[in-house]
């Protein structure tokens, strides 16, 4: 044989071998470790859930649920319209499909499912559902149920059109296409997206959501019941809303940072998890390669974590709000976050506030001395010793602002406080010459000077009114200014503040966390203390009887008795922003109804 022809034959054989291997390979269904691996990378976002079936079964058969449904709250729910509608819908599903809804759900969706969506120029919104079937029998039951439902709805036998995509069978029923690929059932409202999923399933392409860079930010942790992710920039209506200048300074102070993070966000993911001990909802904004713009730095300052707030919580708070901002930085750059009118109003406010601070320039000489954390604390008042508490009973509240050097810069705040009291006194005297004056009385808490306003109210009032809730007070500690509605709350805050040692120069700083906390039991308690007052308001507003009003409030209190607390946190981690909402539940072995 000629050497040239031998080489050619060998080359042909070599090439043929790989072609055949390729063909053989492309016919094999790939392993589906993650449903996202069979989801096209072009989707805008997707939602996925795992083990919802077993968790739902466990929930429905639990003794705790039974106790909950037998409680007064459960009975009230079962008599309501929502419960009746739910039962009717479940009955309708069973009638239409001939199968129990829970069995259907568990079989078809209960193990794992993913629902993805994208916008297409030609096909509009395309949706793809991938579900890992419990067992082959589940598909058969599902088909039977679907057929029964369609026959009941249309009155004609359910038939599908059989198609093929490169060897994979596809069926079409109306606008739904579906394919069975091993233990995965794929459904879509568009043939194109289904075919792309099939190509991924057979390894013909690797452009999956699971492998794509945007979705790579998603955590591998399985700590969720359901998780969704979205690329917001692909939704035109949303994209234009983020990062806009606001017309409200307070909103800007709260939200401009988040708005900016959304503008620079390439992936948004949310997760939900539930258990008998609580519900947690998380949202993460992953920024693009350029990261979160530097101009938003005032919204994400770094601080030294401390124990002040955790210690306060142990003293029994009703709630707290903690915000960390570089206030001076925000104020100085307000033009970047606010429209012209709102930025102008800040300038006017600065001039007015300078008056209160003894002529100091508010923006440059006062704000620059403020620390990076502002807190609002709420605490239920103690019960009156002689049994006559004010009504309504209003929780005490306090504003805490950190100061860089309170010894040096605390004085202007004391001046401002006294100025404010004087102005109020003068105004009241002008309106009513007999009006009692408010007096500022100095008090000491440890070594800290406090200033308590005496409203001049008669003592030992038989039926103390709303004004008896207030004894406005101010204190300046080592590094905080505390302004409270009552002296009791200011005293508590001063005590806790003085326990904290100042952070050393070598302390590690981290991105600060914004936090909102509400204690469910404290909330329930204050509602209970105000039951008669609130019931009277219901009588006026709804025209119902007093007993009916009290019963309505009792149902609310019963619902609250299951809530231990509510916590919302927002924080930055590198170039991602995390937001977490958690509701702690009390669903112990014994359900105790709240007493009045």
């Amino acid at each position: 044989m000629h050497p040239h022809s031998t080489r050619r034959s060998m080359a042909l054989a070599f090439i043929s071998f790989f072609i055949i291997q390729g063909i053989l390979k492309s016919e094999e269904l790939q392993e589906c470790a993650r449903l996202a691996d069979w989801t096209p990378a072009s989707v805008i976002g997707y939602a996925e859930a795992k083990m919802t079936g077993p968790r739902l079964r466990s929930f429905l058969s639990s003794a705790r649920l039974k106790r909950l449904l037998d409680s007064s709250l459960g009975k009230a729910y079962r008599q309501g319209e929502d419960y009746s509608k739910l039962i009717d819908n479940l009955d309708n599903i069973e009638q239409a499909t001939g199968q129990k809804p829970l069995e259907l759900f568990d079989g078809l969706l209960g193990k794992e499912f993913l629902l993805a969506s994208r916008l297409s120029f030609t096909a509009g919104q395309e949706a793809l559902l991938l579900t890992r079937i419990k067992n082959p029998a589940a598909i058969a039951r599902g088909r039977k149920a679907f057929a029964a439902a369609m026959e009941a709805a249309t009155g004609s036998p359910f038939e599908t059109r059989k198609l093929d995509h490169e060897g994979q069978a596809i069926e079409q029923a109306g606008n739904i296409w579906f394919a069975e690929m091993g233990e995965i059932l794929a459904l879509a409202n568009s043939k194109k997206i289904l075919e792309e999923a099939i190509d991924l399933a057979y390894g013909r392409t690797e452009k999956s959501a699971g492998a794509s860079p945007p979705f790579s930010h998603l955590s591998d942790k399985k700590d969720y019941l359901i998780r969704a992710s979205l690329r917001p920039t692909f939704i035109p209506v949303l994209a234009g809303q983020f990062g806009r200048k606001l017309d409200n300074p307070a909103l800007s102070f709260l939200l401009s940072g988040i708005s900016g993070a959304l503008r620079d966000c390439k992936l948004m993911s949310a997760s939900l998890d539930t258990s008998w001990s609580g519900i947690s909802l998380g949202l993460t904004l992953h920024s693009d390669d350029s990261g979160i713009a530097e101009k938003y730095d005032p919204f994400f300052p770094r601080t030294t974590p401390g124990e002040f707030h955790s210690n306060l919580q142990k003293r029994g708070l009703l709630g707290s709000i903690r915000l960390s901002r570089n206030i001076h930085g925000w104020w100085e750059n307000s033009a970047a976050f606010l429209d012209a009118q709102a930025a102008g109003s800040l300038a006017q406010a600065s001039a007015a506030l300078s008056m209160f601070f003894g002529g100091l320039n508010f923006q440059d000489e006062v704000l620059s001395q403020l620390g990076k954390t502002i807190s609002l604390i709420f605490k239920n008042p103690p019960k009156a010793r002689n049994g006559s508490s004010p009504s309504p009973l209003i929780p005490g509240g306090a504003l805490i602002v950190e100061l860089n050097d309170a010894k040096k810069f605390g004085r202007p705040f004391i001046v401002a406080f006294n100025s404010l009291v004087s102005i109020i006194n003068i105004t009241r005297m002008q309106q009513d010459s007999n009006a009692p004056s408010m007096l500022v009385r100095p008090e000491k808490v440890g070594e800290v000077d406090c200033y308590k306003v005496d409203l001049g109210l008669p003592g030992n009032a038989k039926a103390p009114g709303i004004e008896y809730n207030f004894s406005p007070s101010l204190a300046v500690t080592r590094n905080k200014v505390i302004l409270g509605s009552t002296f009791d709350i200011v005293k508590l805050l001063v005590e806790e503040s003085e326990k904290i040692r100042p952070a050393g120069k070598t302390s590690v700083q981290a991105y600060a966390r914004d936090r909102l906390y509400i204690d469910g039991r404290a909330l329930n308690s204050i509602l209970g203390n105000n039951l008669n007052f609130l019931a009277a308001q219901q009588v006026i507003d709804k025209g119902i009887g007093l007993d009916e009003a009290k019963n309505e409030l009792s149902v609310i209190r019963t619902a609250l008795s299951y809530i231990r607390d509510l916590e919302f946190e927002s924080f930055r981690e590198e170039e991602a922003i995390h937001m977490k909402l958690g509701i702690g539940l009390i669903t112990g072995n014994t359900i105790v109804e709240p007493s009045n």
């Binding site: 309504p392 709303i466 008669n532 006026i540 507003d541 025209g543 119902i544 007093l546």
Partner: protein, 431 residues
């Protein structure tokens, strides 16, 4: 009928069948005048009681319901003017004795005291509760109580009234507006009465007789000289014939509304004294008189904003929304707890001007148009009863057939539109 009768005859008891029918329309007429509006249950109760017994029965003091006690306590604790206004409008709307509140409203206008100067809503609430408690009792007791009321003393600068520097405000209003009326006293009487009231002060929100500030010298009042104090002055005013005529005429104008001539005025004074200054029987006799049930007295009084707004809601069976009423009534010209002057509100035709009329129309539109039903009107029940019952509710004496037809056609079966149209009618502006 009234033109042929003497004044005394006009005040004689109404005789059903002879002076006119005792029917649903007559009972509704009494309900509108003595309470607020003519809700069906009240009218049927009046029908059953009869014209003589009904007025007194409606004024009987009843125990407060737990709801009213709770509302009173909660609004007092809030202590703002708006809260106290809400309390009172809620009482008028939902209370078990609206006749007492209607009479209290009369005294609130008669002893006009404004929170704009008192600046203490709880004191105003105390004053209103005084009117509710004592308003149907003896006028002597009422006047004695109100003279020591902290709110009125603040309003009339009581604390400025001191020995050597008497402030005449209280003494003047006592004689001119509270007990005798113009022409029944002299300026000298006022000056001397002011001296008698020196030391009638307020301290710590309570009446306080400040001995140090009291003028113990001899005074001459109504031609009599003596070492008089405030109590003596009050008794002297109460004993004058003019007092009975003055008070009785004011009550007559409020409840009956037909013109009062000299003869009738005298007869009213005699009635007052015959009842030994007791207000419930006096009002009862006025409201059971032939004059009251005569044709000129029917729909003779232009409704005050309270009668208009609260009466309308009670007719419809509304149960809530008292918190909105003070503002609505203020737009119509009646800012509860804040009468415009010591003379109270200008009543009668003054209730209606271009602004206040528009406010009434706005109220009517709000009533019929709101989806949220903040007044909790039982629309379902009213729809079941139908348009004829609705017309009877508002016009038990009948309505011009043409007007009725136009309303039915324009509303096209929409009950809410019908209510708006009815409430806007000129006929509905009169009680």
């Amino acid at each position: 009928m009234s033109a042929n009768l003497t004044a005394r005859e006009r005040l004689e008891p109404f005789r059903p069948g002879k002076d006119g029918p005792w029917d649903y329309a007559a009972a509704a007429h009494l309900a509108r005048r003595q309470a607020f509006g003519a809700p069906r249950e009240l009218v049927e109760k009046i029908l059953e009681l009869g014209p003589r017994a009904a007025p007194g029965a409606l004024l009987e003091e009843l125990d407060e319901t737990p709801e009213m006690e709770a509302v009173a306590d909660s609004q007092r604790r809030i202590g703002s003017t708006e809260a106290v206004q809400t309390w009172w409008t809620h009482r008028m709307l939902r209370g078990n004795c609206p006749a007492r509140d209607k009479l209290a409203l009369f005294w609130h206008d008669h002893f006009a005291t404004s929170d704009t100067k008192v600046k203490d809503a709880r004191l105003m609430m105390d004053q209103v509760q005084l009117f509710i408690r004592q308003g149907a009792g003896h006028f002597h007791a009422l006047l004695q109580s109100i003279a020591r009321d902290p709110a009125i003393l603040i309003w009339l600068d009581g604390n400025s009234n001191r020995k050597g520097k008497p402030n005449e405000n209280f003494a003047r209003e006592l004689m001119e507006l509270f007990s005798l009326g113009v022409g029944n006293y002299t300026e000298e009487d006022i000056k001397e009465a002011a001296r008698a009231f020196t030391g009638w002060h307020v301290k710590d929100r309570k009446f306080w007789f400040n001995k140090r500030a009291h003028d113990t010298g001899s005074k001459t009042i109504f031609g009599t000289t003596g070492n008089f104090d405030g109590t003596d002055v009050l008794l002297a005013c109460l004993e004058k014939q003019a007092c009975g005529e003055f008070i009785a005429e004011k009550l007559f104008n409020y409840y009956v509304g037909t013109p009062v001539d000299g003869e009738l005025r005298k007869a009213l004074g005699e009635l007052y004294h015959a009842n030994l200054h007791s207000l419930s029987p006096l009002v009862g006799q006025m409201l059971s008189s032939r004059e009251f049930y005569s044709a000129p007295a029917r729909r003779a009084i232009l409704s005050s904003p309270a009668d208009f707004a609260i009466g309308t809601l009670r007719n419809l069976g509304a149960t809530a929304g008292a918190a909105h009423l003070p503002e609505e009534m203020s737009r119509m010209g009646m800012d509860l707890l804040r009468p415009p002057s010591v003379k109270g509100w200008q009543k009668g035709k003054s209730w209606l001007n271009s602004n206040t009329l528009l406010s009434r129309y706005r109220f009517a539109s709000m009533l019929g148009g709101a989806d949220e039903n903040s007044f909790r009107v039982p629309w379902g029940k009213l729809r079941k009863e139908g348009p004829n019952r609705l017309f009877k509710l508002f016009f038990p004496g009948g309505l011009d057939e043409k007007i009725r037809k136009v309303i039915l056609e324009e509303a096209g079966g929409d009950l809410k539109l019908m209510v708006t149209a009815i409430v806007e009618l000129p006929e509905h502006q009169y009680i």
